[in-house]
């Protein structure tokens, strides 16, 4: 019997198909991606069983960090600039057009209006490093209240979401609640991470 000869095949593979797949996935991720906003502080949120999702737009975000400093951030570049103008007028600070443009790109910040000028002069990486005092919330110098009020004047649909750290002290949190309530806002969101709901077990066993 003659030997069966195995024909030699080329070792190179056609990469076109793989390339197609790679770029298809790439397109998907590029279109669905939303970059993590760089936050002024690291906040470790407590977990809860609530599964309500945060609305994507029209959110005023108030961060409370471990040391009880308060940070403020709003959506929309136009709204940011408009709110800054009103704050500037209220506190008698003037901002140049460049500073306004810079401010409209700031995701969130934790400095009083008076120090905002110096803060905006820093580069985004320096802003992360510099020690900031947080936004004043006490009744004599309630800047947070005005930020919320003016932001709401520019966009009526704004809802407040509070993102607190696990170790934030209750008095600060309570004070923030009060500030928000003073502005006639009685419902707001707490941003939390997800935790298992013990009722889920009950539910699934009930379904059987």
């Amino acid at each position: 019997m003659p030997k069966v000869k195995i024909p030699r095949k080329s070792t190179s593979i056609d990469m076109t198909a793989m390339c197609d797949v790679a770029f298809l996935l790439l397109t998907f991720f590029m279109l669905t991606t939303k970059f993590k906003p760089d936050e002024a502080v690291v906040v470790d949120t407590p977990s809860s069983i609530s599964e309500v999702k945060l609305p994507e737009t029209d959110i005023i975000q108030i961060l409370i960090d471990k040391q009880g400093r308060v940070f403020f951030g709003i959506d929309g570049q136009g709204t940011r600039a408009a709110t800054l103008d009103m704050m500037a007028q209220k506190y008698g600070v003037t901002f140049t057009p460049e500073e306004r443009a810079k401010f409209s790109l700031v995701e969130n910040f934790g400095v009083p209006v008076q120090q905002l000028k110096q803060f905006l002069a820093l580069s985004p990486t320096e802003r992360q490093k510099v020690a900031v005092p947080g936004i004043p919330i006490d009744s004599t110098n309630n800047q947070l209240g005005f930020w919320i009020q003016y932001a709401r004047m520019n966009n009526r649909k704004f809802r407040v979401a509070i993102k607190g750290d696990k170790q934030s002290k209750y008095p600060v949190v309570k004070r923030v609640f009060d500030v928000i309530q003073e502005r006639q806002l009685n419902d707001f969101y707490f941003i939390t991470s997800l935790e298992d709901n013990p009722n889920k077990v009950k539910l699934s066993s009930a379904a059987k």
Partner: protein, 205 residues
């Protein structure tokens, strides 16, 4: 690998100059590499999961004292304090303060479960109906609303002293949710209650 080969189309003696014949195949490997590199980048930076939230509706500031008159037998006050302690008492006039914690089996969950048993059972029955598709989500929500609005259902007042943390508050709200307590409010602590806490602490030791 690269198949752009030079097939050496040299000159023939005195003949025409011929264009080199090139292979039409291109090696895609580097392009695939690049593609996957970018995919990796986008996968790592993307935030597909939106953050979870808890919605809360606070009572109107000036209405707390007057309009929400609570029935003595349904009121329960929970005071959050340092070191994950919870002080609680039932009723309003004669507070018997007890101490517990956030433990999932022995802590506040057990207390709430016993106190709110009637509502939990009713809501569980409704959930089972939803699971069996006997009622719709809307009907379910309406029924739950009715149960919560009942004058005899438990009303929890959540208070916290200065040493409590934000995590305590969220955990407490979570416990209320787990035990289907529909009526609750976050209220300021009073001086009388601070004294009660101190007394309870002294008793416990």
């Amino acid at each position: 690998m690269a198949e752009i080969s030079d097939s050496g189309g040299g000159k023939k003696k005195g003949g025409k100059v011929r264009a080199k014949k090139m292979s039409t195949k291109i090696d895609f490997t580097p392009m695939v590499d690049l593609g996957f590199l970018l995919i990796t980048f986008f996968m790592l930076t993307t935030t597909l999961l939106k953050p979870q939230t808890m919605k809360i509706t606070m009572p109107e500031k000036d209405q707390i004292q007057d309009s929400t008159k609570i029935k003595e037998s349904t009121a329960m006050t929970v005071i959050l304090s340092e070191r994950n302690r919870i002080y609680y008492y039932f009723g309003i006039t004669d507070p018997q303060v007890e101490i517990t914690n956030y433990d999932a089996t022995k802590g506040i969950r057990k207390v709430l479960k016993e106190k709110n048993k009637r509502n939990i059972d009713q809501i569980d029955a409704l959930r089972a109906k939803v699971a069996k598709k006997q009622i719709t989500q809307e009907q379910y929500k309406e029924e739950v609303g009715k149960i919560n609005a009942d004058r005899n259902s438990l009303m929890v007042l959540v208070k916290a002293d200065d040493k409590a943390t934000y995590k305590n508050l969220i955990d407490m709200l979570d416990e209320l949710k787990i035990n289907d307590v529909g009526k609750y409010a976050i209220v300021d602590i009073t001086d009388a209650e601070k004294e009660l806490l101190a007394a309870a602490e002294a008793n416990a030791q």
